[in-house]
Subunit: 271 residues, 2 copies
Amino acid sequence: MTTQYLTEQIQAKKSFLCIGLDVDLNKIPQHLLQLQDPIFEFNKATIDATHDLCVSYKPNTAFYEAYGIKGWQSLQKTIQYINKKYPEIFTIADAKRGDIGNTSSMYAKAFFDDLNFDSVTVAPYMGKDSVEPFLAFENKHTIMLALTSNEGAFDFQTKEANGKELYKHVLETSKAWKNSENLMYVVGATKAEYFAEIRKIVPDSFLLVPGIGAQGGNLQDVCKYGMNDSVGLLINSSRGIIYASNQEDFAQKAREKAKKLQQEMEEILNN
Amino acid sequence: MTTQYLTEQIQAKKSFLCIGLDVDLNKIPQHLLQLQDPIFEFNKATIDATHDLCVSYKPNTAFYEAYGIKGWQSLQKTIQYINKKYPEIFTIADAKRGDIGNTSSMYAKAFFDDLNFDSVTVAPYMGKDSVEPFLAFENKHTIMLALTSNEGAFDFQTKEANGKELYKHVLETSKAWKNSENLMYVVGATKAEYFAEIRKIVPDSFLLVPGIGAQGGNLQDVCKYGMNDSVGLLINSSRGIIYASNQEDFAQKAREKAKKLQQEMEEILNN
């Protein structure tokens, strides 16, 4: 998928919502546990109930790996379901991978070729040759961690080197990498004041923004500082939407939560 | 497994060799491709031929994920085979994971509970709460990236903040984390001169050292600067051992390469 198509989808749906499919068997409705693949059934119902309100789904691979091969089957079925039924959706494998060059190529193959995701999240610590193998895939996108939404973000990401925080070095340095036009960045919503600074470095890039909802970020603030001419934001909400109810009405309640966010976004887009 | 047991194994085998099981179907002997699970058969033969010469095996998850569910089955069979037949071996899932706290818990569950590895590699970029969930597992070990062996290591890991390189901040900061006694660190062999500095910060920790062989590192230099009283080193070689031959004699040739390294190690341990 091209970023232009993604922007068109955002305009058509009046939404830049990404829904995180972080499925924990301890949190989903009990009645699903009797089914053969509870994780997939949960995702399928959630997706069917929300696909018109969001432009992206983001399964976090940790929640699937935790259930071993069964979990990977659920992940595969989920991405296949989305790609077949809702091909207009931008899919994100939230995997935070990164390794030396020849190994990163294998990860890229796993997520772009084998699973056919539109994008994958990666970690920057190992530098250029750990990320460039992902960037080599045409019309695929590599979403690199810049400033994350957790407390530990302040351990290293905000360390100042030559008068500039590490995450800014990450943003700046990555712009010189081969096929850097395929880069997007993760920037946590809990730090809206940082967005103005970040936009000075990467004015045109899409930013994937976790931390709205359960993690306490504010949508208005993020948009005020982070939005660019082609929107350039994907706002993720996971727990706040998918666990709105743990009863039989879970998909309907997820839709209501997603609708609320979509309406806030529509209002922002109209202004 | 405790680190004391690992040290005893090193003394008993006169080896601190770790063999990286990074299996690429394009590189293994052709005759294996006709078998039902070529990756597992390759690993099984390699392990049977080398287990007395090394103390650790390290499958890199990328090489398994690249083959989808079939790949995960090969990984599962491999770890089960080692745990059952060679329980004295220290197993490392080279996964380089890291995410916000509740998500890292799921990764820890995947590698420590579901797959039953002794250890897993993690990335430090997201800080304390991305690593501590791994550290909570008793007699399991978390091997955090400090200074890696690739070219991109110089993009961010050696950036100076307050007169000290980032990887040193990573080492120092992590010592204060809960259950930090379960930490080990990845330090690339291509930079032997750094080991003296690193040992000032983490004198007692085990260091996992990739970059010997294919990546050009030198064993003598690494040991000179990096070894401590209980050895404290796991030297990894992957391609240099497992791809010694792509003919029917691959396991025997792998043994010869491993034997050569083990003998170098024995000589170093005896001095």
